[in-house]
Symmetry: C2
Subunit: 559 residues, 2 copies
């Protein structure tokens, strides 16, 4: 296999997704030609329910560390965490130049400050063309739920690779700058070898609505409201924040910002000119006391129910500056990201209980997606007309649906490639195939300062501990005689409430003593055998009595 690959691969382009396939998160794509590598995006993802105690998840950088000298740079499509969040961790291994538009670079700059890192950041703008080794990169303006998003058209020695980045087709974006259709048409006409395209909404029919309808919904809420308004949304959605500010100005409200990431992004976006707030409108969240409720709007984070974010703290009643009171109008301008539905509805319930009116996406048009639905994807395919197509940015079901869309438009099924992370698409001017390589691409878990030191064994232990807790059996054994000279003591955590179950614990102690006696009678002195005997007998006893399986940990000390 390997030989076969080498022969074919020598003058070919290798496209390697290290993240973003079969998941929505940690997007990272590698283009490799001979001894040159270009990287598109470097994101993180958030842990799923089974990743106990994990803070964030990164792509595996092993392959890139091994090939560090080949890397010409990282090109960023836009400033969302699943596209830029991995950068500080990557730069700790390899310091390569980064290319991006102003907002994502500003956000990356903030991250680097936090991590006390410096980097070679290169500002580009939509329409720019620049060379990275053998790759000639052209950026094209697109529309998404964050400003300053771009598509990439990359001339490589084998042909043009076009990457949509994340996109929707918004004919009426707030900044009046829609997708650059003309340029897309030209690129398509000249010929594209491979397109990689956003699949997030491939299972949704029709079109994603314009950001404009959210503006209208917000306006009607602002117009009718005579109480305090609190709007929670994604801090990165600068257009959304601008619309809230516009409404505030229109209806004579001052704007207070809550939540660290919202404060950071608002400051950055104002600095860069993406967000325009007239003088005197912004007010410190700690200084709103004197202002009538009808003249206040609070813009905050936490629309996904993140437990530490400002809205969660307001709902729980432990936000320092804001106490929710009867009549407050709370708007969750967002949709729950899959997996967050329950947490978000918990917050909605708590806000209602505190007497607030709550408007969320189930009951009003106060959020639109940032990703293209079926009809928009069709438009992109028809414009770009790629020879080969690789759906990206989606779970398997999204990739499959996107492939079906392409095939319905006449794309040949044999030219559609659904990859897994770590697989390699080998590309020449007239051929494409998936090689038999497996580039390391398992998720790398970050817990506190540890990157990758929590693996399956640790996670399995955390899961077991979370399900039934643990029982520790501890005893001291006389080195000379082999007899127990202290204990066995039984200690438990997360198993039962011990004070109300003293009998059970005492019975368990008796079971352990019997097991040890039996070992002594049988002249079994080897510690592992002793431990097994204790563990097995205690496990059966506990399961019979409680139908639970706590972790059982026998510890012997030699004295």
């Amino acid at each position: 296999m390997k030989t076969n690959f080498k022969k074919k691969g020598e003058n070919s382009l290798r496209v390697i997704p290290l993240g973003g396939l079969n998941e929505i998160g940690k997007n990272m794509t590698v283009l490799e030609y001979k001894d040159e590598i270009l990287i598109i995006d470097c994101g993180l993802s958030f842990p799923d329910d089974e990743m106990y105690g994990i803070d964030i998840v990164l792509p595996d950088f092993t392959y890139l560390i091994k090939n560090a000298s080949k890397i010409k740079g990282i090109v960023i499509t836009h400033g969302h965490e699943d596209h830029i969040g991995g950068i500080p961790f990557f730069l700790k291994h390899i310091n390569v130049p980064i290319y991006g538009t102003r907002l994502p670079l500003g956000l990356i700059g903030n991250k680097l400050k936090e991590h006390r890192l410096t980097a070679n950041l290169n500002v580009i703008k939509a329409g720019d063309t620049f060379k990275l080794g053998c790759f000639k990169v052209e950026t094209i303006r697109t529309t998404h739920s964050i400003v300053d998003s771009i598509c990439l058209s990359i001339e490589t020695p084998v042909g043009v690779v076009f990457h949509t980045g994340d996109f929707k087709i918004d004919y009426t974006p707030l900044d009046g700058e829609p997708i650059d259709f003309h340029r897309l048409a030209e690129i398509g006409k000249k010929g594209v070898l491979l397109m990689l395209a956003d699949s997030t909404n491939a299972i949704r029919a029709g079109f994603t609505a314009s950001e404009k309808i959210v503006g209208k919904a917000l306006e009607s809420i602002f117009r009718d409201s005579t109480t305090r308004i609190i709007v929670a949304t994604f801090s990165s959605n600068v257009h959304r924040v601008q619309r809230i500010v516009d409404n505030a100005v229109m209806f004579d409200r001052r704007v207070a910002i809550s939540g660290r990431s919202m404060v950071n992004v608002v400051n950055l976006a104002m600095e860069l000119g993406y967000l325009k707030i007239p003088a005197g409108v912004l007010i410190d969240i700690n200084k709103i006391r004197g202002i009538p409720d009808k003249n206040i709007v609070i813009v905050t984070t936490g629309s996904q129910g993140e437990p530490m974010a400002a809205l969660s703290r307001m709902a729980a009643g432990d936000h320092k500056a804001i106490q929710i009171k009867k009549g407050d109008m709370v708007i969750l301008s967002s949709s729950p990201i899959p997996g967050n539905e329950k947490t978000v509805s918990n917050i909605v319930n708590k806000l209602f209980e505190k007497g607030a009116q709550v408007i969320y996406s189930d009951i009003a048009d106060i959020h639109v997606s940032g990703h293209a639905c079926e009809e928009e994807l069709k438009l992109m395919h028809v414009l770009i007309k790629p020879k080969f197509f690789m759906p990206v940015h989606g779970e398997y079901r999204h990739l499959m649906a996107h492939a079906a869309i392409a095939e319905n438009l006449g794309q040949k099924p044999e030219n559609v490639f659904i990859l897994n992370n770590g697989k390699v698409l080998n590309l020449t001017a007239n051929s494409a195939f998936i090689t038999h390589e497996d580039i390391p691409s398992e998720p790398v878990l970050v817990d506190g300062l540890g990157v990758g030191d929590v693996g399956n064994i640790v996670l399995r232990d955390r899961k077991l501990l979370s399900e039934s807790g643990l029982i520790i059996v501890v005893a001291a054994i006389d080195r000379a005689t082999g007899e127990i000279c202290s204990g066995p003591d039984i200690i438990s955590r997360g198993f039962v409430y011990v004070r109300e179950n003293e009998d059970l614990i005492e019975e368990a102690r008796v079971v352990v003593c019997k097991a040890l006696d039996k070992c002594v009678d049988g002249n079994i002195r080897e510690w592992n055998a002793l431990k097994s005997a204790v563990r097995d007998s205690l496990r059966s006893f506990i399961y019979e009595k409680t139908k639970r399986s706590p972790v059982i940990l026998p510890i012997f000390l030699e004295v």
Copy 2:
């Protein structure tokens, strides 16, 4: 307050929700008049994410156990787990007669067998009237996602209490027996003092579609399919299963059943005549080998992504009888219950990866809700015209939305009562108010055989253990000298992968030794003080090194 209550309450009806408010689950409502109690439903709920290791959740029966002699019986509205699942646990405390239609009683009978209990089960049918003490209960046919569902109209000494049970308004149910509108109209005309009504879909505008449209969608899938069909749905939805069987017969397929609860319900429903399967159509799941794929349909559980259910096992590739293969048509005839979205999409992805075609509710009309949307609720309110109204069966946001619907129809806001579980609505012929009592109604957690022995402390420990694992420090101390004669040893679980972090563990041991030495130097011998010293110094060290906070457990043995 108590005196006040007693004076007012003596000739009044007390309505006490013990479950089902501010949650969707464990429905249980108590009606109490003088020394007589009638109970409506006795459900369970499933644990939320924070209830580590918990199997199921029950209402708190304390109040009923204290007042056991007053209880005349439990009336069941329908056979879903959130209405009958608590019964075996309740009967272990108090054996009272149970009244229900045939299907719920059959399901309860199965449960009692499993728990080795017997009970006084009384079959009633829609339209029946019977007396339980001072309560005259009338049952009215309704439509829901399980057959044999009823509303209850209960004549009490202070007036009529009407309970909708769970319902939707299906004009074209599969069995041709719609809601008994005529009787509802008569009851409303005679006058209803209090209505308790299902709020599950109160935030949804419009109407819930009829079960009939699912039949149509299934038919078109069956008509077009030439491969094996696997349909996952709720076992309790007998009409859905009937429709699958009808399609199987129509398109010459035999039906195999997979999943314990599906087998149980199918058998029961056939026995009771609710499910009609022509002879020769059913086939044992283990005997399908010889039959062509186009002549097979498999009906299975697991549409909610339950990890142990048949569909999950098929998706994971460890189902005994069924291996998913390319071309299989898998239909998830259900919507994810809030909180299950991620698990369900994981299964969908896995099925796609195995080459199956997967149809789920996001992409086709293969499921409808069993609960009334806004327009249906309006119809119920207008028919029943209650003097007082208590929305039930919903989270706070659903109850609020339902209250708003009632008020928009002209219901006086002061006559609408949103309660919490454990609160008491005190009712006379012309007054209603919420008393100041708090009846115990905290969720009772069931873990294995233990009912209620896992409380907040145990759950907190499980949560802490799941987040960063634990570190145990163990040492033996000489009784005579107070000196350490063995250890300290450090053992960890779920913290870091020890083999790759031996240095860290060794450094931690040094930190512990220093802390103990300092105690010896300071002549500190008291064990709790020693433990604190070890715990504090190790916690700081570990946090500084890793930014993690494992549970730290110092254990000393005296020898």
